[in-house]
């Protein structure tokens, strides 16, 4: 009778140890973020003295100030519009290409596919220098059409197009696999009913690829929302900057205004965390799918 009890306590002890370890690490993950939110609700006067995690008074007006005077309204809508435009662009361009590569007759299509995959694997640490030079040469950086709104549009496009390019390889890879698994009798019966190739792509292939499309959307949305280096190199006008760039500009200009800076960081972080919590299943399955490569 002694043995089972011994084993039980040993197992219980191991469980307690495991859980407390996991809890400590989880707390280390969350605490800096709670600290960020808590600091964003303090004032310039209390933020350096009141180190408690729950502020005594909640100064929500910091968010109002950051939003209106700190320029985070512009940064936020810029980030949002860049993200939406880039992601929509990627979904259409990669799904068309993946559909072509997967289902249509096209000599040399395997070479195209292989090129995209190879590009995904080879790092180019200096790539942004050549990209900057290219955008400059193509006139995206200093457009001069005589119309301010058109100039702005061209500048934005100079940021959007390279980001669309960044999402191509992963999108084509995931969507091609998804289209490869599409049953071909569906396709045949649709074409007998008089459906064109484009119609089959739109009405049959795309709806069937929804899970893969969800992964493409999430990963690229995260990538664009968090992008910094290209925005730093090519967007010098505050009215065009996305959040990450805006945060660095704000920090450079108001180095000690921690409550406002933390409000800005919270504004930049909340959407990401919301998307993540709602989509974590797809995100994790996407990583596991990417591993299979």
């Amino acid at each position: 009778m002694e043995k089972p009890v011994y084993y039980k306590t040993k197992k219980a002890l191991a469980n307690i140890l495991t859980h407390s370890f996991l809890l400590i690490v989880a707390a280390a993950c969350v605490l800096p973020l709670l600290w960020m939110v808590s600091s964003s609700l303090k004032t310039q006067a209390t933020v350096f003295s009141d180190m408690s995690l729950i502020p005594k008074v909640f100064h929500w007006e910091n968010y109002y100030v950051a939003w209106t005077k700190g320029g985070f309204d512009k940064y936020f809508f810029n980030s949002l519009s860049y993200t939406v435009v880039v992601v929509v662009g990627i979904v259409f361009i990669t799904s068309l290409a993946a559909y072509g590569i997967s289902r249509l007759k096209m000599p040399g299509k395997n070479i195209i596919f292989f090129l995209f995959l190879a590009a995904m694997m080879i790092p180019i640490p200096g790539g942004f220098i050549a990209l900057y030079a290219l955008l400059n040469k193509l006139g995206f950086l200093n457009p001069n059409t005589g119309y301010a709104f058109l100039d702005d549009l061209i500048r934005r496009l100079g940021y959007i197009l390279p980001l669309v390019n960044q999402g191509l390889a992963l999108g084509i890879y995931l969507l091609k696999i998804s289209f490869d698994n599409m049953p071909s009798d569906l396709e045949d019966s649709a074409s007998i009913d008089g459906c064109s190739k484009l119609g089959i792509y739109w009405h049959i292939a795309l709806p069937l690829a929804k899970p893969a499309i969800a992964i493409v959307i999430i990963f690229n949305a995260l990538n664009v929302w968090n992008e910094y280096i290209l925005a730093m190199l090519i967007l010098q006008d505050k009215s065009l900057m996305p959040l990450q760039r805006g945060l660095m500009v704000f920090q450079g200009a108001h180095i000690t205004q921690y409550p406002l800076l933390m409000s800005g960081i919270t504004i930049a972080t909340i959407p990401i965390i919301l998307v993540y919590v709602f989509m974590q299943r797809q995100i994790i399955s996407g990583i596991t799918a990417g591993m299979a490569r």
């Binding site: 068309l96 910094y228 995100i283």
Partner: protein, 295 residues
């Protein structure tokens, strides 16, 4: 009939055309151009480019200790990350693989830092490390280690390690997810069979888990090296490469060459040097792992 088919196939290429055009313009062309530009002296603006052959590379290898210091810094952070981040990730993955309840909640929490941007993470931690008002000094004071407090990111002795810790905080959840997925793909019967044969936990780990996980380990190691050697946003948001260049890394050096000195050719040569080194290391690791698996 033949004509229709040819036109049909030509039409099919329209599907890949937008992707291929974007890809050739914004990926392949810059990729090739990095190599071409590395042979020139160019300020990035003037139409005149001076061909200098391999002079940029000669300068990097013989006359640029700062560059190799930056490589050493990135290497230090990489080793730190490989050992501590991946060690932690593996322990956590093993703990969660033991079918404990609420594993899913841990999984969600551990993966929050990886989805944040390097800028956001850097700015939060830059304040935690702050010498005057930072959270770290405050807590050290509270638990009686006040004598340890310092301006963490401005002290040459601590700055690099502090940055490495931030990088690790942001990255371990990502290694954890991959390792856990790998662990969960191991058939449970193998463990049971080993247990029936009388193997202890350590033996099972060594003889069953590790051999099956080698490909996953190699994947994590390669991705860690590629990610960490090219670290920049956390550095820009915390230490800006300071104090006195003690946290400069290759990408921030390339940015200096490009923006501060306007030496685009030299910056490209620096990019080629680290890019080729990373490629060699990745291939070597893949080779080694194949050798291990065959044994």
């Amino acid at each position: 009939m033949q004509k229709i088919r040819v036109r049909d196939i030509t039409g099919n290429y329209l599907y890949v055309l937008p992707a291929v055009i974007l890809f050739l313009t914004f990926h392949i062309y810059p990729f090739i151009n990095v190599f071409r530009l590395s042979l020139f002296r160019w300020d990035g603006l003037s139409p005149v480019m001076q061909f200098v052959g391999l002079a940029n590379f000669r300068d990097i290898f013989t006359a640029s200790p700062e560059w190799w210091f930056s490589m050493w810094h990135a290497f230090y952070i990489t080793m730190f990350t490989l050992i501590f981040q991946n060690g932690l990730a593996l322990i956590l993955a093993l703990a969660c693989d033991r079918a404990i309840r609420s594993a899913n909640i841990y999984r969600i929490i551990f993966f929050i830092p990886p989805v944040l941007s390097g800028i956001v993470v850097g700015l939060i931690w830059q304040w935690i490390y702050d010498g005057n008002y930072g959270l770290l000094n405050y807590w050290l004071e509270k638990i009686g280690f006040g004598y340890l407090s310092r301006t963490w990111l401005e002290d040459p002795r601590t700055a690099l390690t502090c940055v490495a810790i931030v990088h690790m905080w942001k990255g371990f959840g990502w290694g954890f997810i991959i390792l856990l997925a790998g662990l969960q793909s191991i058939p449970r019967q193998l463990y049971e069979a080993a247990r029936v044969d009388g193997a202890g936990a350590w033996d099972i780990f060594r003889k069953v888990t590790v051999p099956l996980m080698v490909p996953v380990f190699v994947l994590v190691i390669i991705l860690t090296i590629l990610n960490t050697m090219q670290i920049y946003d956390i550095i820009l948001a915390t230490s800006h490469g300071g104090p006195a260049g003690h946290t400069e890394v290759p990408i921030t050096m390339i940015l200096h060459s490009m923006r501060d000195y306007r030496e685009f050719g030299y910056a490209c040569a620096q990019g080629v040097v680290i890019g080729v080194m990373l490629l060699i290391v990745s291939f070597a690791l893949i080779r080694v792992s194949k050798g291990v698996r065959q044994e």
